[in-house]
Symmetry: C2
Subunit: 251 residues, 2 copies
């Protein structure tokens, strides 16, 4: 019986990405330089940060005039009011605003800390925003890489989110292209004949988590290639992972 | 520059586990049979289900007398009142009891659906409970495998949890032994000199998610070996991943 196995390869050596850079081209160059052989069916996981930078989703804080609400919150909690102002602008709704933490529903529908506004791995005095439409970004990158590398990859744009109830952060999928984000076991039966009622695995999130282990927050490895995993075929979107408010018990 | 990469190998071929089975011995046999070479520093991820079965954490529903509360809830939502009774007994506290869903804090402190009581991959008429102390279980398995295989592994006992705000399930770590469940970047600096303030990655959860991708809900692959990942050394426990109620905004 062939073993069910896959490999996760961090892709180092990407240069610092700035607005207007051709990200698929930079990734293709890295893959070639590192002598990784990308194959049809591989999955490329890319950190949101470099997608945002390439798309110019960067805000210079000196251009931001904080509102009274931002000034008040920032003063109470020892934060930069300009960063808070950007967070409030990116938030469609504030889910929690307590103990110095801002958990927000972003314009794209994700629920995460600081509405995805990030002050790490960016030049000082700037912050990044999430891509406007990570599924669109993933699809565009996928198309370009098919041309650049001559192979059909699935693409996941990942970000690092906190979770209720559990300490520490884990990577999840924001944008997905070229695969379904779920493996669905519903209506299948286990070996005892029990129906698997509620089992729909968020494999895109699990792939994003797996990729994070080969990336690095300080080591400048913002992308990883996953080889040998048979992902669920079909068109799918990261936005399908966002649970609609009416089905959510924790908003 | 050597590539940052690791491999995840599903371990098939484990027999059906029952109470009193020597699980480390069964796993060691499987590793030998499949011609996988386990090495010092590999991580073994084991599905909670087989640990629970080996530990006899199985309840026969014919022995369960449902309470009035269980009968009432079961009737309203079309559930088996005996299963609901077991869930209520396993729950230290109910976090949400809405729309047919029971989200509970278990006796061990985890927050999950049905207090971890599971009706899938078990003989009909029975349910499994979570191990009483998954960190203890992980440590015992680790010790036995060191003897059986002659190598020092880290061990993670994983389970499949739902998440607020996101559709689909993902695997997380319940018990951990032989590694820290976190990689801590706090006080480190990125390449721009920004301090990484809140970045503590829950790598044990990410490893559990990665392993799930090589397992299978219906394919009877309840364990996986992860090779080539440099995990954070030191003693650590899965219970450290459980966020204390006083730091949690979503209880």
């Amino acid at each position: 019986m062939p073993l069910n196995q896959f490999k996760v390869i961090g892709l180092p050596g990407l240069p610092e990405v700035t607005a207007g850079d051709d990200l698929p081209d930079l990734i293709a160059q890295t893959i070639r330089q590192e002598d990784v052989r990308a194959e049809n069916g591989d999955i490329l996981v890319i950190a949101q940060k470099i997608v945002s930078k390439a798309e110019g989703r960067v805000v210079r804080l000196e251009d931001v005039a904080p509102s009274a609400q931002a000034l008040d919150w920032a003063e109470t909690h020892g934060k930069d009011p300009r960063v808070i102002e950007v967070v409030l602008r990116e938030a469609r709704r504030l889910v929690r605003m307590e103990r110095g933490l801002l958990i927000a529903e972003t314009q794209q529908g994700y629920i995460c800390a600081n509405a995805g506004v990030d002050t790490s791995n960016v030049p000082q005095g700037t912050v990044t925003l999430l891509p406007e439409d990570p599924d669109y970004s993933a699809a565009e990158i996928r198309k370009s890489l098919a041309t650049e590398l001559g192979v059909e990859l699935a693409v996941i744009i990942s970000d690092t989110f906190g979770r209720p109830w559990r300490n520490g952060l884990a990577n999840v999928a924001l944008g997905v292209s070229g695969m379904s984000p779920f493996v669905d076991y519903r209506n299948e039966r286990d070996r005892f004949g029990n129906e698997l009622k509620a089992t729909q695995m968020a494999v895109a999130d699990e792939l994003a988590s797996a990729a994070e282990l080969a990336m690095g927050k300080t080591a400048a490895i913002p992308a990883a290639l996953i080889q040998g995993f048979s992902y669920p075929e079909g068109e799918g979107y990261g936005r399908e992972i966002v649970r609609p408010p009416e089905n959510d018990l924790f908003r």
